[in-house]
């Protein structure tokens, strides 16, 4: 368990953040300039703080020099040593689990090469492997995908997922991309202007209508967990979630494999009656559990579908016109194509 409380005054805002992170991926989410990078640099000891209390498994890190903290850090820009081969880069911090790391990250073909000849995605994989081989007790990933284009991101994401599933240490994952966060994180800490505005289990925070203003209306949307039950001939995948069956585009996941689907709140349509003659494939019967009016023209609607929770974003006018109330039974309609391939994983 990692426990953090750091404060630092900047000219235009004050970083004052406290949170806990158990083993597994905790996302540090927030807009640019919200203090995410300052926060994890403070955890690593790379920046000075006015006050820092950082304990990892009961051990106080705050007074230690960075090189004594046993922390793996993957920077946005990889920072591989240009004068060393990939193998020497990997071994720089140690040779912990060397064979497994090389295998999991698919690095075997790269070992003899120099960083200058690697693609952006390959560099990030090497940086990740290098951090892992130093046997860290805590892994800090500072937007490791943000410098990559979409195909490269898609190339690295599966490695990160494998890493998440095979590592038993806390991992802090800094990102402003909700798609990545929803796929990787178990917990989320939302920062805004240096303060923690929401934190908790990812499913809870993303299904909480009160958290929508902090997540941002475009990024809001619940995450459903489910199992892949089949791939159809016409290019769709059927996923059995706790809230009912969903069809998503593309052949994703392995049969019977566990999978997560992020359903953007703005792509959920609500209907009083069971829809007929509609092109949308996914219709779930849901109960309204909460209504949260923002400052803008829309309302965040929390929905319960069996054991699963969903979030919908509708206009205040629709909400009033339909007379939506907490406890009402309605139908949630999701267009299959609204679920981007990146939202499933």
């Amino acid at each position: 368990m990692l426990q953090v409380h750091v404060t630092r005054a900047f000219p235009d805002f004050t970083l004052d953040a406290a949170f806990e992170a158990p083993a597994g991926v905790t996302a540090i989410f927030g807009p640019s300039g919200s203090g995410k990078t300052s926060l994890i640099r403070a955890v690593a000891g790379l920046s000075d703080c006015d006050h820092a209390r950082i304990t990892l498994g009961g051990r106080d890190l705050s007074t230690l020099k960075p090189h004594r903290r046993n922390i793996g850090y993957v920077f946005q820009d990889a920072r591989l040593f240009p004068h060393l081969t990939v193998l020497k880069n990997l071994r720089y911090g140690g040779r912990h689990d060397e064979e497994a790391v090389i295998a999991v990250l698919g690095l075997a073909p790269l070992l003899g090469r120099h960083p200058a000849s690697l693609s952006g995605g390959e560099r990030q994989r090497v940086a990740l492997g290098r951090a892992l081989m130093s046997a860290p007790h805590l892994l800090l990933l500072d937007e490791p995908l943000s410098a990559l284009d979409s195909p490269r991101k898609a190339e690295v994401l599966p490695y990160l997922e494998a890493l998440r599933d095979q590592t038993a240490i806390p991992i802090l994952y800094v990102s402003h991309d909700m798609t990545e966060v929803a796929r990787l994180a178990r917990r989320i800490v939302v920062l805004d202007r240096g303060q923690v505005v929401v934190s908790g289990a990812l499913e809870d925070v993303l299904a909480d209508p009160a958290a929508v203003p902090f997540i941002g209306v475009r990024d809001a949307g619940a995450v459903l967990s489910g199992r892949v039950v089949g791939h159809s001939d016409d290019g769709l995948t059927k996923i059995e979630t706790e809230g009912g069956a969903l069809w998503v585009p593309g052949a994703v996941g392995r049969a019977l494999g566990h999978i997560r689907v992020r359903v953007p709140a703005q792509d959920v349509i609500l209907s009083r009656s069971a829809p007929e003659g509609l092109s949308a494939l996914n219709v779930l019967s849901v109960t309204i559990t909460g209504l949260e009016r923002g400052t803008g023209p829309d309302v965040a609607v929390a929905l319960q579908a069996g054991q699963a929770r969903l979030l919908a974003r509708v206009t205040a006018r629709s909400c009033d016109g339909m007379g939506l109330q907490v406890g009402d039974h309605v139908f949630a309609i999701l267009k299959a194509t609204a679920i981007a391939p990146g939202d499933v994983g």
């Binding site: 922390i71 920077f75 920072r79 720089y92």
Partner: protein, 231 residues
């Protein structure tokens, strides 16, 4: 071949090489430390240190030589101290010529090393630290290998400057054949002597060849480093 230069000239050439070699060798660790402090350090008096290091570059060499005479003469505070502690005498010895050469070459050396250190991404040093490397190991395994071409260039410049130093040397340790008469001083003497000009010209050619060779060697070394990194 050996009678191309007279024994006095051979001795001057040999002395110059010795003076420049020792001046470069001894000032290199200090030059690196100062360059590192200027490139990476954020401390009080950094600007003052910067000015102090560069002074010999802009002061009249005769002033530098005079200050050396005051400080490192046998009765000077530093000169007396070195003699008492290490038995090392600078005044009117080749060691004094090496000291003068080292001080005159110091700004050039520091400048070249500092530029190469500033070109090393501090982020790489930071990354090495997060991988558990102590500051000393970071220096040895990341900073030094990456700054290597600049360090070689700085040393070569200081060496070349040491070969040709004139003003501070003649002021500090005078012009004693076999003891402090380096190449530059020897050329100066020959130009004063009737009929000495052909020999002066030969010495001039020798010094040009040495300077050019030093530059070529440093270029080759730098290129080799760049090529190795690009692979």
């Amino acid at each position: 071949m050996t009678d191309w230069l007279g024994p006095a000239e051979w001795s001057a050439l040999w002395l110059s090489l010795k003076v420049a070699f020792w001046a470069t060798l001894v000032s290199l660790p200090l030059g690196f430390a100062v360059a590192y402090a200027l490139a990476r350090g954020r401390f009080f008096g950094r600007q003052a240190l910067n000015v102090l290091v560069h002074l010999p570059l802009v002061m009249p060499p005769v002033v530098t030589g005079y200050l050396l005479l005051l400080g490192f003469g046998r009765t000077g505070p530093l000169g007396a101290g070195f003699e008492a502690l290490f038995g090392l005498v600078f005044a009117f010895r080749w060691t004094g010529a090496a000291l003068a050469a080292g001080i005159m070459g110091f700004p050039l050396m520091v400048r070249a090393i500092r530029l190469s250190l500033e070109a090393v991404d501090a982020g790489l040093e930071e990354a090495a630290g997060t991988l558990g490397a102590s500051p000393l190991r970071v220096l040895r395994t990341v900073t030094l290998p990456l700054a290597w071409p600049g360090i070689v260039a700085g040393a070569v410049l200081a060496f070349a400057k040491g070969m040709g130093e004139f003003g501070a040397t003649i002021t500090f340790v005078s012009n004693i054949p076999g003891q402090t008469q380096t190449l530059a001083l020897s050329i100066d003497t020959l130009l004063e002597v009737p009929g000495g000009e052909p020999l002066a010209l030969r010495l001039a050619i020798v010094s040009i060849v040495i300077a050019a060779a030093a530059l070529i060697v440093s270029e080759l070394l730098a290129n080799r480093v760049v090529r190795r990194r690009a692979l």
